[in-house]
Structures are given as C-alpha cells and as structure tokens.
C-alpha cells in the first residue's frame, strides 16, 4: 500500500443480498472497492469509501439494475440504540458486515490509469 493518506468519506456501501442478482455492474464501475466472487456476487471492501472515490461509488449505487446498493452515512452510535452485535456472534461477525474475502485489501488508492474493464480472470464465470 502506498503511504498516501486516504481521506474518509464517512460513508460505507451496504448491499441488499436478497435483491442483488449478480449483474456485476457495480464491480465494473468501482473495482477498487467491489470484487466479484466465482458466482458473480459482489464482495465489498470493508470500511468507509475513501473521499476521492465517493462520486464513483454513487454512480455504482445508481447504476445497479435492481437498486441493491446504498451508501450509508456512518453515524456515531447513540447510547440507547439497541440490538446490534449479538455478543456471542460478535467475535465472528460485526454487525456492520465488512464484506470481505480473505486477502482482499481494503480500498487501495485509485491508480492513475484505471483499466476501463476488469481483466478476464476476474470476470464472472457463467
């Protein structure tokens, strides 16, 4: 990773897993933060979207054919707010669900010459 400081947009991407139909548009628009698994379903990098990618993230959200993505502002948890992580499972999965494949680095800085399309090996198998 480069030592360049990445500014945080204060928002993260949430996905409605039931609606998502593996169209893959999101990963094409935002390869820095969304990868596709072997069945074509998105794996989203954990954490907030870096500020310099927020516009593109908005495009990815707007272009999902089934509107399965949302950008959510991360607010400081209010004291009385309930339910989140059931303690027994919390160790395994935080409620905010940073979707992430083992080894997926979080949000790399955007390369200057970003490939317009993903390489064939990353494309969805059909």
């Amino acid at each position: 990773m480069s030592g360049r400081r990445v500014l945080d947009s204060g928002q993260h991407i949430e996905i409605d897993r039931i609606s998502c139909d593996a169209y893959g548009t999101c990963a094409e628009l935002l390869p820095e933060g969304i990868d596709l698994d072997e069945w074509g379903y998105p794996v989203i990098a954990p954490g907030n979207v870096p500020a310099h990618l927020l516009d593109i993230a908005k495009r990815a959200v707007d272009n999902c054919p089934v509107l399965a993505l949302r950008l959510v502002k991360v607010t400081a948890a209010k004291g009385a707010e309930p339910a989140p992580p059931p303690p027994v499972l919390a160790a395994r999965r935080p409620e905010t669900r940073p979707d992430r494949m083992e080894g997926t680095p979080p949000w790399p800085p955007r390369p200057a010459n970003r490939p317009a399309k993903r390489g064939p090996e990353q494309r969805r198998r059909s």
Binding site: I18, S19, L89, A91, R93, E102
Partner: protein, 414 residues
C-alpha cells in the same frame, strides 16, 4: 444440576396444569413499574437463549422506548435446529412459565398483541400451549392486563425461526428472512416494533419477576450467572436437562453416559455451532462468555458427543447438505456457496474428491461469511471451519489418499 425451569413434576409427565403451576410458584407479582421490571431483567444479566445470546433487558428497553404502547411480542418456539429439543420440551411441560414470561414481556414493552410462534412439528408443545391458554382464559388470576395471543405454527424449516423470517411468516405467510434493516424491533409484526424472544428466555423472566435478580444470579459457576436448558445427544442417555451455566462438558458426558473415551470431538451449539476437539472439550465450561473466548458459542444449548467411531468428514458433509437444503434460496452467496460446500464435502466424504476440493472448501469457509441477508452462511461456515480444524488429518487423508481413518484406513468410495 440446579433445576429451576424444570423443577417440579418430571417433564415426562406432560404439561403442568395452571393449578399445579400456581400452587408451586404462586401468582405473578402485581402490576409493577415497567422500568423496574426491565431493570430487574437487566440486573439479572439474562442472555437470550435462541442462539445469539443478546442481553434480554437491553432488547426490552429498546422496544419499549420506540413502541409508544403499541408493540408486539413474539415468543419464538420455532426450534428448527435439528439437534435441539429443549424448547419443545419446555413448551410441552411448562407452558405456563412461557405464558407468564410472555405476559410480563408484553407489560414491560407496552404490547397490545402477542404471538406464540411454535414449529408445526412440535405437536405436544402446541397442544400444551393451546390448553394452557384456555385454562388461563377460564380462570384469569394474573394481575397483568389481558393481552390477546395468537398461536402461529410455521412449517418445519431451519430458517423459519430466524427473527425476520418469523415476522415475515406472521405477516404474510412467507417463512423466509427479509432484508434488514428495518429489524423486527424497529418494524415487525403489522409494521409495529416487535420483540422477538426465545421461549426459554421468557420462561426465565417468569422466575426472575417472582424471585428477583439476586436470586437468579445465585446459580452459575463461571462468568455468566443463571441456569440453562441444554440438549445432550450422542450418549447412552440423550435428553434435555437444566444446568448451572459453567458446568463442564465432561460432567455432561458423565450424566449422559458417554462411553467414548475422553477426547472424542464434541459439537457445541448446534448446526450453527463449533466442533471442538475432545482434548479441549472435557474441561470446557458451558458458559457463553468462556465459550466465546474459546472460539465457540453456546448457541442453542446443544452438546452433541460425536464419539470416536463416527467419521467426522461424513458427519460434516451430512450437516453441510442439510444446511444447503435449508437455505431460503434468496441470496447468491448463500445459495451457490452452501451448495458448493455441500457438494465438495460429499465428494470428499465418499472418496470421489476433485483435485482442489479441500482447498476450495478452506477458501469458502472464509469467503462466504457475512454475505447473506441472515446469518445462515455465517453459522454454516463457522461449523465447517471448526471441522476442518479438528478433523484436519481426516479431511486430508480423505482428499489425498481416499482413506478413512475411522474405518481402520479403509479406502472410501468405489
């Protein structure tokens, strides 16, 4: 082993009558201040018994806070976990404890309706609860206001007990999870804030309201106070019993007449749980906090002794197939991921592995986690990961040599 929920007549004697229940435990204390009741549950430190172990008092406070007197309480007695029996035994033998807890919850969160959500296969439980409701209607003694109760019986399925699936089924007859948020405590049955609480959790509340938080905290031998119902299988005397939290797995093995040598693996929690090696297991206290620290979970209170005869690979493959078949088939990573896991496990177990099956299983045990609308993929991959760890040598031997160590090195498959 302290009996609280199960003190009184034997569970084999069937449902305790309202008269018997009142003679033994007395009536509920009169109308108490809502905040007082919630404070008492909080002070007791009661954790939910449906699997996730969330603090009951905190959940009540959040529902009460947003309900404005029009909440719904849903008592979750779906018990779809194939290895668990404790909820159905509780409902069938102590229906009035569950109904007391339901009334108290309704009072505390400000509910105008309650739902008894009972898996349709639990026939004895359903009959006991129906009869208990009739007894209470005919002989109203509770000091709490009457709140209508609807009995709903979802079809047999692992997923129907998940809280958003339960709400979905009550609302429109579809027992599949929905996308959260909104979670049931925000928008549940009829769009109202809904408290979904396991039936055992509610039964504990019925006793805490009578005897207080300090009394509740007298039981328990490790970090977490109280007693819990557990389902023990795999020994000569399988069954449901009530233990002090903190009782060790070894003590349960003795109780259940487990003949396997000390050191055979144990499945804790249920199909969403963890397999731990016998070497660790025997001294492991059954305590939610200590289990979490050990990388396991109390889950639905299942303690299944797997024995040293059974092939762990085959056992795991069977569970994976069950889970893949139980997916509500809505989310891609769950539908395709669990099926892929089940198929690869079955190939390895039957001696027909593809070259990379085991390494792909290892990858999927990490990569599918957290990627469904509900925790189905998470629970399943957690169990798989623990099996890959505990039965490492067996998985490897099946994959690379097609040999099953359990059958004295016999080749598996054709």
């Amino acid at each position: 082993m302290t009996a609280r929920l199960l003190s009184g007549p034997s569970t084999a004697a069937g449902a305790e009558s309202l008269a018997g229940h009142r003679a033994r435990l007395g009536d509920l204390p009169g109308r108490t201040d809502r905040a007082h009741l919630i404070g008492m549950i909080d002070a007791a430190g009661l954790l939910g018994r449906g699997g996730a172990g969330f603090p009951v008092g905190r959940k009540w406070a959040s529902v009460a806070g947003r309900a404005k007197g029009d909440a719904v309480v849903l008592a979750n007695g779906a018990e779809g976990e194939p290895l668990a029996h404790k909820d159905r035994v509780l409902m069938a033998s102590r229906p009035h404890l569950v109904l007391d807890g339901l009334e108290l919850a309704a009072e505390a969160v400000g509910a105008r309706r309650t739902v008894l959500y009972v898996g349709s296969e639990h026939v004895d439980a359903r009959i006991a609860l129906e009869r208990a409701l009739a007894e209470r209607a005919a002989n109203r003694t509770s000091p709490l206001p009457r709140v209508p109760t609807m009995l709903v019986t979802p079809p047999v399925s692992y997923i129907a007990g998940e809280e958003s699936a339960a709400v979905h089924f009550v609302n429109i007859g579809d027992p599949r999870p929905t996308t959260v948020p909104p979670r049931p405590y925000e928008k549940g049955v009829g769009g109202r804030p809904t408290l979904v609480q396991n039936v055992e959790s509610l039964a504990h509340v019925a006793l805490i309201a009578r005897y207080g938080a300090d009394w509740y905290r007298e039981a328990g031998r490790a970090e977490t106070c109280g007693t819990a119902l557990v389902t023990v299988t795999g020994g000569a005397r399988p069954g449901v019993l009530e233990i002090d939290l903190g009782t060790t797995v070894g003590e349960l093995a003795e109780w259940a007449g487990v003949s396997a040598s000390v050191g055979s693996p144990v499945l804790l929690g249920g199909y969403f749980g963890t397999i731990i090696s016998g070497a660790e297991a025997w001294r492991q206290p059954l305590d939610p906090v200590l289990l979490r620290r050990a990388g396991a979970a109390f889950g639905a209170g299942v303690v299944a002794f797997l024995g040293d005869e059974a092939c762990g690979v085959t056992t795991t493959a069977r569970i994976m197939d069950y889970m893949a078949g139980s997916s509500a088939a809505q989310c891609g990573p769950c539908v395709f991921g669990l099926r892929a896991i089940a198929d690869a496990s079955a190939r390895i177990a039957t001696g027909q592995p593809r070259q990379d099956d085991l390494s792909r299983l290892r990858g999927w045990s990490q990569s599918i986690t957290g990627r469904g609308a509900c925790r189905m993929p998470d629970g399943t991959t957690a169990l798989l990961a623990s099996s890959l760890r505990v039965y490492d040598a067996d998985w490897t031997s099946h994959q690379h040599h097609r040999r099953c160590a359990m059958r004295r090195g016999a080749r598996v498959g054709a």
